[in-house]
């Protein structure tokens, strides 16, 4: 039922979601930490920026990213000057776009988990000779583990469901930017409903399984 290009699209999608999730965990953790702990004026504006992809139509996000990353955009000039070429219509470009698109889905669960810890355990760590960085790695991160799991699952799943942004900045290039959602669109355009069913049905099942696993994980944590 699935042809070679379908499998290639699935593989590319999984790769994109994995890379994006890893990048987001690395970038999102310090950001979430700062948001959870700061009393700065900038907390409000930064929170709003992080949450924007929740509200903006993906096409709007994709459109501006296309401009930023294109030859005339500042990011485009920067990547060009660094010898990396231009990002639009490349896998790297998709990663950058996905990171921004899925940012709130990763930052917010981690931020909530950090906030739930409160200052008590960290103060206890300080009185037990742990420096702030030490306490961050040995107390804050382990205690926020459920938040990290939620963040990773949501970030991964949300990136898989990405369509509008990909279409704007990635186009439909097999093995580089042709992810599952775009491939389904192409199948439907060509009236290849059987192939579309194969991929679309798979995504429906995948989403259901993700939510089910999250529910079970939540239940186990609450029960513990």
């Amino acid at each position: 039922m699935l042809d070679f290009s379908d499998w290639a699209a699935l593989w590319l999608t999984a790769k994109l979601a994995t890379v994006t999730t890893l990048v987001l965990l690395v970038l999102g953790t310090p950001l979430a930490w700062w948001l959870a702990r700061t009393r700065s004026f900038w907390k409000g504006p930064v929170s709003a920026l992080v949450a924007m992809p929740l509200i903006l139509p993906p096409t709007v996000l994709g459109f501006y990213l296309l401009l930023f990353m294109g030859p005339e955009g500042w990011l485009g000039r920067l990547t060009h000057a660094l010898g990396w070429g231009h990002l639009p219509f490349t896998f790297a470009g998709l990663v950058v776009a996905s990171v921004i698109y899925s940012l709130p889905f990763v930052v917010q669960p981690i931020q909530n988990a950090f906030e739930a810890i409160g200052s008590g355990p960290l103060e206890a760590a300080a009185t037990l000779r742990a420096s702030p960085l030490d306490a961050f790695f040995t107390v804050a991160i382990p205690q926020a583990k459920p938040g990290f799991i939620t963040a990773a699952v949501l970030g991964f799943a949300h990136t898989i469901g990405e369509f509008g942004v990909v279409l704007m900045i990635g186009g439909n290039i097999p093995n580089a930017t042709q992810v599952v959602s775009v491939r389904i669109y192409a199948h439907v355009e060509a009236l290849e409903y059987t192939q579309a069913h194969g991929l679309a049905g798979g995504l429906v099942l995948f989403s259901f399984l993700v939510l089910l696993v999250m529910h079970w994980a939540q239940k186990r944590r609450d029960g513990a």
């Binding site: 008590g120 355990p121 103060e123 206890a124 760590a125 300080a126 009185t127 037990l128 000779r129 742990a130 420096s131 702030p132 030490d134 306490a135 040995t138 107390v139 382990p142 205690q143 583990k145 513990a224």
Partner: protein, 360 residues
């Protein structure tokens, strides 16, 4: 200077201000006593470095931990302290054993003076080591928290109402451990409490805080006997005596507690002769007479001299301080009685002590 702990700070917040300048000996238990909101916990947090007042000096013996005028501030993780939080603050992602060694393994080996086994034995938590923190009772949690703080071999142990969150039964479970700590460890302790009973049992030096100010301060025995700035213990006003068990009367199950200037017969709890014992005598359990009473059930009668009178919270009452030798007692009697007996400083009186509690 080298055997003192010193804190001076000014902290002004919208609904709260704290202004203290305190120096106390670097041995024994200093109790910070006062009602909630009086600034006790804040003061403790400043000692630990968890709170940083803009104008503050904290000195532990020769070491300066904070001196804002000179730009010195030592962060909490570099201070040789142990801290016991009111809610224990155990790490929920670690089991008991892992909680205990969290601080220990961050202390250089040369500075480890309290072996972990000793801390575990002192607090009686040997059977809990593999347990998860969430499965512990409130009392067990607090004992683990105290052992965890001891395991870093602190030079100063700070305890923030470690019993406040516990019910009476759990308190009785932990108090003996605290008393043992007090007896067997030489490290100085700052103990925050609003319980007169805990203070009477554990303290050597007493600081009374009210609304961010020190209202009374000094060695426990003399501070409790002060009448001018009465320590607001209410019904629990009274004195604490350091005695030595001098004799036993096996037939009546009594033992004699000797103190400079006299002695008291108390219930025999099986304490060895020659051991020190701290006893507490509440002001309401002491009555006064001008002549020795003979046909009375009260066995403990002492002769003393009135050294001061003061009003009490209720206008009907007055507090009378009587010196028995060098030992002060406080009696609560009615003002009418005081007038009837014509009590004035210097007048000899007989004290009748109705009840003595052995507290250590």
């Amino acid at each position: 200077m080298n055997d003192r702990i010193h804190i001076a700070c000014r902290l002004i917040r919208r609904d709260f201000s704290l202004e203290v300048d305190l120096t106390w000996p670097d041995r024994g238990v200093m109790a910070l006593f006062g009602p909630s909101g009086s600034g006790k916990s804040t003061l403790l947090r400043i000692l630990a470095g968890l709170e940083r007042p803009p104008a503050g000096v904290v000195r532990m013996r020769k070491e300066v931990w904070q001196d804002e005028a000179r730009g010195i501030f030592c962060p909490p993780h570099r201070r040789p302290i142990g801290y016991v939080f009111q809610d224990a603050a155990l790490f929920s992602h670690l089991n008991v054993q892992e909680n205990l060694i969290y601080g220990l393994k961050r202390v250089p080996e040369a500075l480890r003076r309290v072996p972990l086994d000793r801390a575990i034995e002192l607090l009686g938590i040997g059977g809990l080591l593999e347990r998860r923190v969430v499965t512990l009772s409130g009392g067990e949690r607090q004992r683990v928290a105290i052992a965890r703080a001891l395991a870093v071999s602190p030079e100063l142990l700070l305890m923030d109402e470690p019993l406040a969150a516990l019910d009476a039964a759990r308190k009785r479970e932990i108090l003996p451990f605290l008393e043992r700590l007090h007896r067997e460890l030489v490290m100085p302790v700052v103990y925050v409490s609003h319980s007169p009973d805990e203070v009477a049992r554990l303290a050597d030096h007493l600081v009374v805080l009210e609304a961010g100010r020190v209202v009374a301060e000094g060695p426990l025995q003399t501070t409790l006997a002060r009448l001018d700035t009465p320590v607001r213990l209410g019904e629990e006003s009274g004195v604490v005596l350091e005695t030595v068990i001098g004799a036993r009367d096996a037939a009546w199950h009594l033992c004699r507690a000797d103190f400079p200037g006299g002695s008291l017969w108390i219930r025999d709890h099986g304490v060895q002769i020659g051991t020190p014992a701290r006893v507490r005598i509440l002001a309401r359990d002491v009555s006064l007479a001008l002549d020795p009473q003979t046909r009375t059930s009260i066995q403990n009668a002492l002769s003393g001299v009135v050294s001061g009178l003061a009003g009490d919270r209720h206008p009907a009452n007055s507090l009378v301080r009587v010196m028995v030798g060098d030992t002060p007692f406080v009696a609560r009697i009615t003002r009418r009685s005081a007038a009837y007996l014509e009590l004035t400083p210097g007048k000899p009186v007989w004290l009748q002590v109705k009840s003595v509690a052995l507290i250590e």
